[in-house]
Symmetry: C2
Subunit: 190 residues, 2 copies
Amino acid sequence: MIRDLILRNRSYRRFDSAVKIDLARIEKWIDLARMSPSGRNMQPLKYAVCTDEKINALIFPHLGWAGYLKDWNGPAENERPVAYIAVLLDRKLAENHYCDEGIAMQSILLGAVEEGFGGCIIGSVNKSRMAKVLKLPENLEILNVLALGKPAEKVVLDTAENGEIKYWRDENSVHHVPKRPLKEVIIKTV
Amino acid sequence: MIRDLILRNRSYRRFDSAVKIDLARIEKWIDLARMSPSGRNMQPLKYAVCTDEKINALIFPHLGWAGYLKDWNGPAENERPVAYIAVLLDRKLAENHYCDEGIAMQSILLGAVEEGFGGCIIGSVNKSRMAKVLKLPENLEILNVLALGKPAEKVVLDTAENGEIKYWRDENSVHHVPKRPLKEVIIKTV
């Protein structure tokens, strides 16, 4: 059931860094993005994948983690992602990627979750530094970075009350994500 | 398997307009979007749903269909969508919706496909006319419209050659969508 998969597909930021992910597996997940809808079918998105421990260590400092958790600077050494996918716009193909990016990343993450992995979409990226680490040519613009691994944290959905949507961690280190109730997001039915 | 669902989730533009969709069913699909990741967990997207035949007829002229098919002006009367979801940005909540839109629409469409329905993301929308039909308040900006129904066309994926990505219809009215091969979209693995 897609509902179960979507429920399990939380934004995970702490992983068991002892559990690696094969490159072939990640390529299968990207294949899901490749087969997903694309505006005007232009398919201007490209992907750079990193599973190399040494390069992962160079990538990590250029990512921002969980803006609302002011007392947390990101995953500890043994909780870090074991792989990254930089989602890129190929400006030689198009200047506009419409909503392709979200579609593609949702497909990738659902593929990962189905196989017991998970990840987080990171928008807070030092893009120029990251492009240097990956030695990207100029036509490829970094849109987002997917951090991937075997989740090592519990994430639960709560119902947002009074529009309070900031995620938080409880005393057992469970990550709570308040979602607006359905009656607030469906504004009209005719 | 998510792969099967993603493969079945094609952009359908011709439907069996005799098969209606219950509002309750569509609300379940929107609930999938509600539970999907959102940048900063802001959840600024809202949804207006229409299943009313008369209002559907007012919506239809404000949508553009399949730009590459120059000889086709959109679905005939008996092939038209039976429901629409206008995906909206609530500007009272945020000016930026990051990649939420694609994530949300992919979740909705996967829910629809799982239950034997399907749809198409339409970006070519006369937004001011559409907002009038739906009587939307000023703070709600239309981002895209999802057209939904029981698919009544065959859509197949081909492999794009020489960057030729325009979709086309063959003599049996099968819709062909050329997708760039995986080795072109994964530009680097380290």
